[in-house]
């Protein structure tokens, strides 16, 4: 049987979840599940997730990247994205990773809402640790920021010849349809600390950093990485987010574990 170091496949109860399994050259003893962010942040960080997965695989770590229902290559429409289903999909993906890698110990990595999902899924998915990069901890603030960017987008002269109508931009966040339930779910989001060690990687611009301490008060820490990541800069909405310091921080943390 052919051995592909990076294998794309579909999995889950209805075979609708897309995954990319990065197999190390030798039988793994550790594994990382990558929980992607949602919306445009998923697209912007795709390359970075791939780079990180490849580097972890080179360290002997099995990695699974995947897309939640309604995102990326997975089944479903963007408007169907649902917070609880995302958390459930992360749990399903953790099971898939255990099965493929043959290891029980899984560290979850997630950026932005992906970090929040990893924290929310930690118990059910039996993560050994969560590494969260600029996780969203206060849904109200996040929704307000997305709404403000969507409002600015309507009149963005760099994008449109004429301002668009309010109806044209309604019920969307930066290129993606959103359902009422997702808006309500994220608005109500108050991420609680996980019962496992948590490393928060902080690259929020100065003055914009939420207080992470409550996430890591039991076990874990906050580590700053520079430069700041332009998550909310509308002018760079379609620019990929790449960060060698982030990759170094995550691979370094996994190397400590070895």
């Amino acid at each position: 049987m052919r051995h592909d170091p990076e294998l794309p496949f579909f999995f889950g109860a209805d075979g609708g979840l897309f995954g990319m399994y990065h197999a190390p050259a030798t039988p793994p003893r550790r594994a990382v599940l990558m929980c992607p962010p949602l919306g445009q942040e998923l697209i912007r960080t795709h390359r970075l997730h791939r780079q990180l997965a490849q580097q972890l695989a080179a360290q002997g770590v099995a990695v699974l990247r995947f897309d939640y229902h309604g995102t990326g290559d997975s089944a479903g429409y963007s408007a169907e994205v649902d917070w609880n289903r995302c958390v459930g999909d992360a749990v399903t993906a953790a099971g898939e990773l255990r099965s493929r890698a043959g290891v029980d110990r899984i560290v979850a990595f997630g950026a932005r809402l992906g970090g929040s999902i990893a924290l929310a899924a930690a118990d059910r998915a039996r993560f050994a640790e969560v590494i969260a990069w600029d996780p969203v901890v206060d849904g109200d603030d996040y929704v307000a920021a997305l709404d403000a960017m969507q409002a600015a987008l309507r009149e963005d002269a760099d994008r449109f010849n004429q301002p668009r109508s309010h109806a044209d931009v309604a019920e969307q966040w930066l290129g993606f349809d959103i359902g009422d339930s997702l808006r309500r779910q994220i608005t109500a989001l108050r991420v609680q600390p996980a019962s496992v060690p948590t490393l928060v990687l902080d690259s929020m611009p100065a003055g914009g950093a939420p207080r992470w301490e409550h996430l890591v008060s039991r076990r874990g820490k906050v580590a700053a990485i520079a430069p700041p990541t332009p998550w909310t800069d509308l002018r760079r909405l379609e620019a990929a987010i790449l960060s060698h310091p982030l990759i170094q921080a995550v691979t370094g943390r996994l190397a400590e574990e070895a």
């Binding site: 990319m20 697209i43 379609e238």
Partner: protein, 278 residues
Amino acid sequence: MMREEAFRFGRARHLVGIAGVPDGAWGETGVIVLNAGLVHRIGPFRLHVDLTRQLNAAGYPTLRFDLSTLGDSGASGGGLTRTQQVCADVDDAMKLLSERAGCQNFVLVGLCSGAQNAHTVAASDPRVSGAVFLDGYAYRTLGYKLRHYLPRVLDPARWARFLRHRAGGGGGEAKGAADPVFAVAPAPREEVIADFTGMVGRGMKLYLVYSGGISYCFNHARQFRECFGKVMDHPGITTSYRAETDHTYILSGDRARLVDGIGGWLARNFPPAAGRHA
């Protein structure tokens, strides 16, 4: 419900793509969607996912995939030029859809650099029977310049701003107007016209859809003919200018209209076997 399948494929198993093959679609025209810029195969704001799934529902086999070194695809290590690599990758993609769905003829869809790549392959590969170029090659014509600059020259408010700026010691508007302009790499206009002429001469159907997002080089439906001449009158070519939209169709309504437009063009030019998906 139709299932998509994920593939690693290609001469060096270096390519990654998602194929959608509807039941009973064996031998239909296959639709292959190329990367838009550096965005991985799902396309800007998931455009390629919406497009391929809607086309699957209409009866077309589809493949959205990452060209070498883009998205999840690796390098083939063959020492090819980028143009040769693109042609080889699309050849691999056509072979995959041929194996999975019996496709003998293909329509390529590309946005921006994807249009350029689709153009390159379409100009030389006889298996390509149609192409959708989204914001493909464009050139600033005299008509473009008149439409762009004349309103500005005649706008008193703009003059007032300009004079205030000059009085303040600033420079004037210093936008260059070099021809031609393309976000990735230009090709000589005569070459592009010759390519279009050759494509329709061998029976290909073309759909050119240009957006208001490239207003730095294209600003009116008339500009298709200004750019490419009388070949644009050929019945095998359909054009559409969507002034209100941006380059990457960020609004879901614009995206839905684009997908519907491509679906309608395909249905008219490459109808699936009659009645099967009515």
